[in-house]
Amino acid sequence: MKRLNPILARVNKMPRAALITIGLFIALGTFAPWLAPQDPSAQNLLEAGGGPSAAHWLGTDHLGRDTFSRLIIAANTSLVSVGSVLGIAMTIGIAMGTIAGYHRGWVDDLLMRVVDVGLSIPSLIIALAVIGIVGPGYWTMVLALALAWWPMSGRISRAVAVSIMSNPHIEALRVLGASPWRIYFNHLLPGTIGAVMVYATADAGVAALAVATLSFLGLGIQPPTPEWGQMLVDALPYLESDPRQVLLPGLALTAAVIGFNTLGESIALNRIPKPLTRRMLAARRIEVAGWARENVDA
């Protein structure tokens, strides 16, 4: 508990609404199969387009599927795809960024020009091109988005890596005679991952939106797997008769995106130096008490 306290104190400072939204999103996404009250794909045309009832809390869609269950399962789809996209993109990006930041010189120039090329093409266009070549599908979409996403994290991790490498503590390790492996894996990599993760939180919202966009266009997640963007496009023909079916996935998506953005921003802002803690004051006192001892020695 003692170790948890500082973490809890930091969490407490974050915007509560965003924290709850994202917490809910992650919890729902993780435990979706157990939480969904009904089978999201079970059709019942007799109940199609029905309003909220005891059996279907948020009503049913045009095929009579339970909207509440579909929204929950869609959170799972979204979480897994966003997680995979960012995971793959950041692995590539951090690897390239840290190598560039470690070596500098021509290696840096070469890798960063590759990143520049990647950055200069809008990510959705890259994704569309890849899907156009390979054909739509769940994992095609994940790979296509990861391919479009890594240059950004490559650029950020390179900047972080350069600043870590110019830090005197790395120079101190060099003077101690540390091997390049030790400097790279024990000091540069953990430091870079920590800093880049912060940006990833803000990125998650954009990635969730991209997944929904591709699915909306029919290029991403294919029916019958429930996905917010795809639920939107499914319900579009019934916009006038049953707007609830468009509004609900739209709201869920909006909440997730805004939640990730707000949270990412607050995490980034919380990294400003914190004021003196009681522990630091105690350390100061021990130091002062030590002066007397030192002066007796000298």
């Binding site: 101190a172 101690l176 005679g177």
Partner: protein, 336 residues
């Protein structure tokens, strides 16, 4: 000085590419110095004169563009890779800023443990014992090893940094203004710590400083640096009593005196002008643009180093006069 120097720097040069195309900044230009086992040597000069670059080049943080560094007679420029890392380990560096020279993610114990591991101590048990020993040596309590370095005060951090350099059993410690980032009150303690370590462990110490009083207190010999060159070096007492280069004289005269009455009587013209750009240093003697004694000859040729007494040299044509007190750079100019 009967024994061989532990560190010998010969004609060392460090240059950086200038912003201006094709030009170079000669941060360290043809510097030679020697360090004997167990002595503290001061290196003083204004900001930007290249003293830190000299220190960094000696430990290999900057690439030398010429000259040699010999450690116990072994030329480090002939080594590379693991062999270089292993030899150079005997040469350690204490950074000016204790706030950035430690990894804030590590605890004190982890930082020292890692240094010991790098130094080749394989047994965990042995490393734990040495960690305690090092903490004792720098006057920190054992309990501090579980604290993160970011929780420590400046003085504590600098002690940890010193302990870390001692972990690899160095023969030479290059201290780059190790106390200038600390509060005045803590400064004296860390200085005392240095003196004690040097006495107990016999580590030779090159002490880079702009605080002349600190160097006077600690060093047995002093090198004075100006614009990338050593202009004067000699035994500390003699150099402080009889500075024999106009620059040393002016540097010493610019130290404020605590007593206001003495302060008022100080005759010095003090330092005038600014340090010229090291991209295009003045011809001949580099100090001539600010020297009250400069005359035509100074622009023509670089003055050689004149021996004044055993181990006291100054690179000025007037060195002998200045040494003998027949001339002074501190007389007000204007009268001729």
């Amino acid at each position: 000085m009967t024994h061989a120097p532990v560190l010998k720097v010969e004609n060392l040069q460090t240059r950086f590419k200038s912003v201006q195309r094709g030009k170079y900044v000669h941060a360290v230009d043809d510097v030679s110095l020697e360090l004997y086992p167990g002595e503290i040597v001061g290196l003083v000069g204004e900001s930007g004169c290249g003293k830190s670059t000299l220190g960094r080049t000696i430990v290999g943080l900057e690439k030398a563009s010429g000259g040699r560094v010999l450690l116990d007679g072994v030329d480090l420029s002939g080594l590379s890779g693991a062999a270089l890392r292993n030899s150079r380990r005997a040469l350690q560096y204490v950074f000016q800023d204790p706030y950035s020279s430690l990894n804030e993610r590590q605890t004190v114990g982890e930082a020292l443990d890692e240094a010991l591991l790098i130094g080749g101590l394989r047994s965990q048990h042995e490393r734990n014992r040495r960690t305690k020993e090092l903490l004792d040596q720098v006057g920190l309590t054992h309990a501090i090893k579980d604290r993160h370095t970011r929780e420590l005060s400046g003085g504590q951090r600098q002690r940890v940094a010193i302990a870390r350099s001692l972990a690899v059993n160095p023969r030479v410690l290059i201290c780059d203004e190790p106390v200038s980032a600390l509060d005045l009150s803590i400064r004296a303690q860390v200085m005392n710590l240095f003196l004690r370590l040097q006495r107990e462990l016999g580590v030779a110490c090159l002490f880079i400083a702009h605080d002349l009083s600190l160097v006077r207190q600690a060093a047995s010999r002093v090198y004075v640096m100006y614009l990338g060159k050593i202009v004067e070096h000699g035994p500390s007492q003699e150099l402080y009593d009889r500075p024999s280069h106009p620059y040393s004289q002016m540097l010493l005269a610019s130290v404020p005196v605590v007593d206001p009455r003495v302060e008022k009587l100080r005759s010095a013209p003090l330092m005038v002008g600014e340090v010229p750009s090291p991209t295009s240093p003045p011809s001949g003697c580099r100090f001539r643009t600010r020297c009250p004694l400069a005359f035509d000859e100074c622009a023509r040729s670089t003055p050689p180093s004149y021996g004044l007494s055993p181990d006291h040299n100054a690179a000025c044509v007037f060195a002998a006069d200045l040494y003998g007190g027949k001339r002074s750079a501190l007389v007000r100019q204007g009268a001729g």
